[in-house]
């Protein structure tokens, strides 16, 4: 009797323990909800952080090629598309990194009558400013990129020698300029490469302290 009672009792106990181990429907759905919620947060954080942590994005690739002083030419289609995928093979490209934190930067280009365009990219790969030879003054590029502080100073005291220049106010102070010159034939490529070599991309201390 006592042995049977003990056996029965332990069986009942085991039953209760088993029931406790089985999560209830409420616990299950709470767990599922928590999983989905966490998955959603992780998903959003991952998507938003990819551009910041990627080292193969357009900016990083361009920064690896672009020098600080002057234009770096990408002449052959193979070299330009290896450096930056998606560049037009019929174009010769020039890359230049500019920092307008302390002094403005001057960008200039003299070309023949062929299409060219220019874009300024910030760190996120967003285009801050772009133009082509039609929007530029007489097809030639004469551009000054300034930070917001220098833009204010220019408004207050316009500099005489900057007349006819395109003044661009950069939101970011660290930018990469990409110059695209249409050059479909080998002879055009050589010409475009020479034009990029002669083009200017440098710091311009336009404010003379007095």
């Amino acid at each position: 009797m006592t042995a049977l009672g003990r056996a029965l009792g332990s069986a009942v106990d085991r039953g209760i323990v088993a029931a406790r181990n089985m999560p209830s429907a409420g616990t299950l759905s709470a767990g599922l909800l928590a999983t989905l919620l966490l998955a959603g947060i992780v998903h959003i954080v991952t998507i938003l952080s990819i551009p910041h942590y990627s080292d193969a994005d357009g900016w990083s690739r361009a920064a690896a090629v672009a020098g600080n002083g002057g234009w770096t030419p990408l002449v052959s289609p193979a070299s330009s598309q290896a450096a930056l995928p998606g560049l037009d093979p019929l174009f010769v490209h020039g890359l230049c990194r500019i920092s307008i934190n302390e002094v403005p930067a001057i960008l200039s280009l003299e070309t023949a009558n062929r299409f060219w365009s220019l874009a300024l990219y910030d760190r996120s790969g967003t285009v801050e400013f772009s133009l082509n030879d039609r929007t530029a003054v007489e097809g030639a590029l004469e551009m000054l990129v300034v930070n917001s502080l220098d833009a204010e100073r220019l408004k207050e005291s316009p500099q005489a020698d900057l007349e006819g220049m395109i003044i661009v106010e950069g939101v970011s102070t660290d930018l990469i300029a990409v110059l695209r010159l249409y050059a479909p034939e080998p002879a055009d490529r050589a010409e475009a490469a020479a034009q990029i070599a002669a083009a200017q991309c440098s710091p311009a201390p336009v404010f003379t302290e007095n």
Binding site: R20, N21, P23, T27, G31, A34, T35, L36, L37, L38, A39, G40, I41, V42, H43, V45, T46, I47, L48, I50, P51, S54, A56, D57, G58, W59, S60, R61, A62, P77, A78, S80, Q81, A82, L84, P85, G86, D88, P89, L90, F115, S117, L118, A119, L120, Y121, S124, G125, T126, V127, F129, S130, L131, N132, R134, T135, V178, R180, Y182, P184
Partner: protein, 197 residues
């Protein structure tokens, strides 16, 4: 009982991270941006590189490593399938026939699926719009094939494998097609597969 809660939590955290990151990865793998405009088989993303770009397109672009054309420069349209919906392959012959949207200059190029140049061994892989390449009605008639063809031929040889995936890119420069509303009214050439080798 003591170990039940931590184990359950661990499961939730693991599954949450797994599903969250897995779905994020899948979204960046998708070839078509979310805010894309499609013109037949051609896909353009006019918001790419602008402050209006959505987070998924930004993440996707960060992975492909491309710098999109600025709004003052032009717009790129990418085709990865023929007009029959089949993926473009380097071992097939395609005819690109029809009109392009208005632009001062456009180029058409054949590239590897990831945007790299093809090692075509001196063959032409891209053409520009400079008059020469127009038919009588002002349309475009180009053959994309791995072997020499009559007419205007873009060479799709030079891929890693004989039957690698390729893409065709039409880049329109100085074009009003940049605005979304204008784009939807434009037509782009058809890409018909003639045969595969």
């Amino acid at each position: 009982m003591r170990y039940q809660l931590p184990l359950g939590l661990l499961g939730i955290v693991a599954a949450g991270f797994g599903i969250g990151m897995g779905s994020a990865w899948l979204m960046t793998q998708s070839i078509q941006p979310l805010d894309a405009i499609t013109l037949g088989v051609w896909i353009a993303s006019p918001n790419a590189g602008t402050p209006d770009a959505d987070p998924y397109s930004r993440a996707r672009l960060a992975r492909t490593g491309e710098l999109p054309l600025g709004s003052g420069e032009g717009l790129a349209l990418v085709a990865r399938t023929d007009s029959g919906g089949r993926a473009l392959q380097s071992d097939c012959i395609y005819r690109v026939l029809g009109h392009t949207p208005q632009a001062r200059l456009w180029t058409l190029s054949v590239e590897a699926a990831d945007g790299r140049a093809l090692a075509s061994g001196g063959n032409i892989t891209a053409v520009g719009s400079e008059g020469l390449f127009r038919q009588g009605d002002g349309g475009l008639n180009v053959v994309v094939a791995p072997t020499p063809q009559a007419g205007i031929w873009l060479a799709s040889n030079g891929t890693e494998r004989f039957d690698s995936p390729i893409r065709l890119v039409a880049r329109l420069y100085d074009t009003p097609a940049r605005t979304v509303t204008a784009l939807t009214n434009f037509v782009m050439p058809e890409i018909s597969r003639e045969r595969c080798l």
